[in-house]
Symmetry: C2
Subunit: 319 residues, 2 copies
């Protein structure tokens, strides 16, 4: 009986792979730098080598591998076979990666959007275990999301559901990278929080941090933990913006669990407290009192574990 799945996470900084067992535990892992702007052939070779190497490192027999789950940012075709476009691999357009991997390794493969894969990971063995409906929000450079309805990933009619980051919470508000105005990503992503922090300093607020291009969300978080008022204020405000997005999700989707993930989750209770306060204040009681709002449990492993879990789900291997 085959016992392991290879989970692959095609990140913008690193391509990561792990050997994952049927209980969602990673046994071996490997990470290599992403050749960001490489041609399709180079990237494909990188991915093939990554998968090959992780099998070698883990010293598992190929007969022990159930299949390969692949999580990729960007747009995937409706049939889940082709990466149409990925912001992390700009030269990749219309790459039929599922077929390429299946041919090369002669095992089943599934291709899933990375945010969806991560959401599935949290539902499978993470913060949303036992929930049948989940919305996961990834708070990093941008804001992404994944939705699980009735124990299944909901990808939308065109595979673009769960684009939580581009929900408008302020008509005609701040400009977003997507070209639109007032998206939650333009207020509450790590990048947006840093921008608002710099504006705050510029307006005269006193802080441990000097205003410079070097400021990161992590620095703001560290300063907040040292009691820096400007940093505390900006994280609180970020939580309040996020709270609005969560209220909207509770009104529209009304999931059992909302999972917050990504780099910004490092702020912990500093971020969670205003989120909880705002949702309590503004969501319907029926929704608020029963919706669990939690941080990711799998952290950076959610992509690898989730991609592996998606393969098992696709093959309907009970775990």
């Amino acid at each position: 009986m085959s016992n392991y799945v290879i989970g692959v996470d095609l990140g913008g900084t690193n391509l990561k792979a792990g050997i994952v067992d049927k209980k969602g535990k990673i046994h071996s892992r490997l990470s290599i730098k992403t050749h960001y702007n490489a041609d399709p052939q180079t990237i494909s070779d990188q991915i093939f080598k990554l998968i090959h190497d992780i099998i070698m490192i883990a010293q598992v027999k190929t007969s022990d591998i159930v299949g390969i789950g692949l999580g990729s940012p960007g747009l995937i075709d409706k049939r889940g076979e082709t990466i149409l476009f990925s912001p992390n691999l700009p030269q990749w357009r219309n790459i039929p990666i599922k077929e390429m991997i299946t041919k090369r390794f002669v095992v089943p493969c599934v291709l899933e959007n990375d945010a969806n894969a991560a959401a599935w990971g949290e539902k499978w063995v993470g913060a949303a275990r036992e929930a049948s409906s989940v919305v996961m929000i990834t708070l990093g450079t941008g804001i992404g999301g994944g939705i699980i309805i009735d124990n299944k990933l909901w990808r939308g009619a065109n595979n673009v559901a769960g684009e939580i980051g581009h929900m408008v919470i302020q008509k005609d508000g701040r400009k977003c990278n997507c070209g639109n105005y007032g998206c939650i990503e333009a207020y509450a992503s790590a990048t947006a929080m840093v921008r608002r922090f710099k504006e705050l300093l510029k307006s005269g607020a006193v802080s441990l941090l000097k205003n410079s291009d070097e400021i990161t969300a992590k620095m703001i978080n560290d300063a907040a933990l040292q009691g820096d008022k400007a940093s505390l204020d900006i994280i609180k405000e970020t939580g309040q913006y996020l709270g609005i997005a969560l209220v909207n999700i509770m009104h529209i989707v009304n999931p059992e669990v909302i999972v917050l993930a990504g780099g910004m989750a490092a702020s912990g209770e500093l971020l969670m407290e205003p989120v909880r306060q705002l949702t309590k204040q503004k969501a319907f009681e029926a929704s608020y009192k029963d919706t669990k709002i939690v941080f990711s449990q799998l952290g950076n492993d959610a992509g690898i574990i989730g991609a592996a879990g998606c393969l098992l789900k696709e093959l309907e291997i009970s775990v």
Copy 2:
């Protein structure tokens, strides 16, 4: 073989019932004024009499009735048995109406939120036929909604999904009846449009309509059709607000079809044109180009037909 379902729509103005066949066609209908503030016993008797009378009027044998589908505004318990609270029947609290009807008429009964029932009606035999994912938005005094995912009504973890009207599109914006600020209902419901229109007149805009408490959404629509600029402007602006809500729905749920229903649908292309323009401008192309945005086909019958359809769906009677 039983051939008919009774669909009942518990509206704030009228209690309506219809004899519906398995193809979603209404054969007889009956409507009585809702005793808005009556005690539970009076309302129950009204509903029983309504069902009894429609059977008499239609001259169908009771053996020909498959069951009764009931659509009610407000909050229904998770098991779909009890009306916990309905804004239209304020004295009704925790009424186990499903059991009451089943006992009285000795046929199966389903109880569904009225917006969900209407959405199901449009999916069954209306504007969203053949779509597997649908979001319906009801534009009346308030704004309601129903969501169908993967050919099933999605009610949410606590039966409060699809509360589209309380999606915030303007943080700290206009006050909404729900107590929150900036909900789409506070901008684009019939009531909100009238309010904005009055403000426009107050600010000096010229119109065929005189500023008074008598102004209704219908009057604004009629004036617009006569070319009244202030009325045209306010309907266009309403469409733009609605457009933002639709963009959010396309980003989060990404349904195949979005159905606009309710009294405001009477504005037709005057309302639809700015909605389409704004979604084209602001939604992702992958979502925009394939999402159908249409008006309800069943109009005021959606509630009766949908409630009947929900009963058939519950009994899994193929149609």
